[in-house]
């Protein structure tokens, strides 16, 4: 008999403290039923076009600022003492543009968190976060700070209960991905623009970053049999995939479409047929790389890769082989139909082993803690700061591989202290929550007597709540 609180933590985002003892019923049915009810739309998102226009304006500002600086430098500057020299003055307009971009990022983090706190389908919300991390982009680049969060909203959410292949295509054609993995800069050496650049002696050409990461991270997985030639050929097929309306990158004037939208520029595309994983892809403009993605989306190695990651997320850091095999079969037999995979996941006994808890990532723990104390609305900037301090800034993983999904990455001495500090902070901000009555609501059968005793003996209601949030049971799901 699975305890409901375990189900809500393992498959959902943790029980909401203010839901009291509302029963979720049979945990497996509870999870399955959410698949049909998932609502991809999220309120109050900034538009892609607005972000693209802001980015274009930013580049324009920077260009004019540089030009102004060159013009205005008086010849006497060399005579000025070093102390009197202005410190690499940054144009206030550029500063304002940067601030605007950061605020936009924070608003998106706020929207993600608000959805996580109030969602009626927490299992699918968790799955959304899983896929956003699978198709990881980082908001740390000027070009991606605004778009990174939108990838989750626009490319992941609409396909969470659809086909893997559709999500793959949407993610790879998203401006965040095209900028983050440098696809927007890639030029086919024999394309019209490539030839023109070569004639000028400019060193511009192919960038294989996106092609490599699609194979290594998004589909087949590392060391699954593709080689450098496959990467290069795939990179050639991808040339021409870029972003409209940002006024930057090779052949910006050839790019058509609404600002921020995916655009295919034939003048950048490497002409000719390509051979990838032994299969020939005829020339077909934008469709050539699309055909490659379609092949990769249903490849057995992709099925195994996805099944392994899902099993790691829902069962154990060392994915149980039987479960991986089960999910792999579900993926392959359905052609990458994600609901079929999720149902196989929910049916896997390995995911319901309460004796093998997963260590919560900082994001996971923060969401669970805020839900626990009944928070529904959050201020974006403090939320951004909290996740930074906990070591998992939203949409800023250290590499395209995304955040690790195991205890070894998150259970460290310093990380633990930070979590306790954050627990204290969250507890201080929670209004009139009595941890003594909340603990059984949150943890059910998992509540250890030692934790209940520690909470009851706490020196103040706030300390009691902090103890609950930082308890061993709450650190895991």
């Amino acid at each position: 008999m699975t305890s409901p609180t375990f189900a809500e933590s393992r498959f959902g985002l943790g029980p909401r403290g203010d839901d009291g003892t509302v029963s979720i019923g049979d945990p497996r049915s509870w999870a399955v039923a959410q698949i049909a009810r998932f609502q991809p739309a999220i309120a109050n998102l900034p538009s892609r076009a607005a972000i693209a226009t802001e980015l274009a304006d930013f580049y324009e500002l920077r260009r004019t600022a540089k030009a102004d600086a060159r013009q205005e430098s008086p010849p006497s500057v060399a005579m000025m003492s070093k102390a009197a020299m202005p410190k690499a003055a940054v144009d206030p307009a550029i500063k304002a543009a940067r601030r605007e971009a950061r605020d936009g990022y924070a608003r998106l983090v706020g929207a993600r968190l608000a959805s996580a706190l109030s969602t009626p389908t927490p299992f699918l919300e968790r799955i959304t976060h899983f896929w956003a991390n699978h198709f990881a982009v980082s908001a740390q680049k000027v070009t991606t700070v605004g778009f990174a969060g939108l990838l989750e909203m626009e490319a992941v959410r609409p396909h969470v209960t659809g086909r893997f292949g559709d999500m793959l295509l949407a993610a790879e054609q998203h401006p965040a991905m095209l900028f983050y993995l440098d696809q927007a800069q890639s030029i086919g050496p024999n394309s019209a623009l490539g030839q023109r650049a070569a004639a000028r002696g400019a060193n511009r050409g192919l960038n294989e970053n996106l092609a490599r990461e699609i194979l290594e991270l998004h589909t087949l997985g590392v060391r699954t049999g593709y080689d450098q030639a496959d990467v290069t050929e795939f990179a050639r097929a991808l040339t021409g995939w870029t972003v409209a309306g940002v006024g930057r990158g090779p052949g910006a004037r050839f790019v058509t479409g609404n600002p921020g939208d995916f655009s295919f520029v034939d003048a950048l595309h490497e002409p000719g047929a390509r051979t990838i994983l032994g299969r020939r892809f005829a020339e077909g403009g934008e469709g050539q790389a699309r055909a490659v993605l379609e092949m990769l989306a249903v490849h057995p190695a992709t099925a195994r890769h996805v099944a392994t990651k899902l099993s790691r997320h829902f069962a154990a850091d060392d994915p149980p082989p039987a479960m991986v095999a089960r999910l792999e079969r579900a993926f392959l037999s359905s052609g990458g139909d994600l609901p079929t995979v999720y149902r196989a996941l929910i049916a896997s006994p390995e995911a319901w082993d309460e004796t093998q808890p997963k260590f919560r990532s900082p994001w996971d723990w923060t969401v669970a803690s805020l839900r626990a104390v009944g928070t529904r609305e959050v201020q974006p900037l403090p939320a951004v700061a909290l996740l930074n301090q906990l070591g998992q800034p939203v949409w800023m993983p250290p590499s395209p591989a995304g955040w690790d999904d195991d205890a070894a990455s998150w259970a460290g001495p310093d990380a633990l202290v930070r979590r306790v500090e954050a627990a204290q902070r969250i507890a201080e901000r929670a209004n009139a929550v009595d941890a003594r009555s909340l603990a059984p609501v949150l943890l059910g059968a998992q509540l250890a007597p030692a934790t209940a005793t520690a909470i009851a003996r706490a020196e103040s209601p706030t300390t009691g709540l902090a103890l609950l949030l930082a308890s061993p049971e709450m650190l895991r799901r």
């Binding site: 633990l416 500090e421 201080e428 003996r457 020196e459 103040s460």
Partner: protein, 372 residues
Amino acid sequence: MFNRRKFLANGVLAVSAACLNPHLAFAAGAESGDKRFVFIIQRGAADGLAILAPTGDPAYAGLRGDLAADIATGTKLDSMFTLHPALAQTAKLYAAKEALLVHAVASPYRDRSHFDGQNVLESGGLAAYRIKDGWINRLLGELHGGKAVALSPTVPLALRGAVPVESYAPSNLPDASDDLLIRIGDLYAQDRQLGPLWNQALAARAKAGDSGDAKGAAAAGTLAARLLGGPDGARVAMIETNGWDTHNGQRGRLTAQLTGLDSLLSALKSGLGPAWRDTMVIVATEFGRTARANGTGGTDHGTGALAMILGGAVTGGRVMADWPGLAPQALYDGRDLKPTMDLDVLITDSLARHFGLDPIRTSSILFPDRRA
């Protein structure tokens, strides 16, 4: 040592003398004007017997043993009481007659739960959870004009109620309190994964030094002074201090706690400048700690406690206590300092005098369940 009855007889007990004076006319409410009030709550039950030690009581040394070692270097206030050495600035306030120390005091609460005790202390009820708002908020209703602010992320119970109150806290993650760290350590000790990680974390923390506490406390004092400053500043503020629940390692922890409190008070005074003259600070805790040291270098939950009233508007420089003594038969339940003075009355009288309020009405508003 001063005796409360003697105080009353001599009329030197300024706080109570005011409300006994029949010639003073009181309005139904008062303009807060330049008067300022700061409430500092010590969450966790501060050990009054260590902070203001009754070193003149013949039973004290025997009850406390090694736990009382620090008091040897404290400030001897009279033949009975010695102030903890970590309260050096507070001792100066005492010498300047700006600190009134009130011993063997207690709220109406007589059990030993922090949750319930703090609820009574903050709500002003006779029992826990009987009154939903806080006595400081009800006080605000009596003061016409003047904002109130809590130096915490949310408004604590004592300030909650009908009158809107602001709260203010710095945005960085606070250092977790030592108390929380100790409790977490206990909780993680049995966990194979978390136990060793926690020990490493504490070792790293010890290496980094923990001078942050006093600095943080001084910053809180400075911040409070800023929020209370100027003509538009708050007139009432509440500051929360945690970490007083010293079941073990009391000597070191209490020294750190008191160093923090001392820095806070000192920073508050210097930050307020001339406004200190019009300021009254009350420091209080939910209950005291056992008279006898326990087996783990600390003390357990008790009853009678210490309250401190400080500020330029206070007639201080004295200890107020109807001292019950620490002999076995004098202890409450055979273990705690017996309370001989009501914290409610002390608060009522102090505030009534400070703001020029009718003490009887003030008592009925702040502590409505008390029998008149």
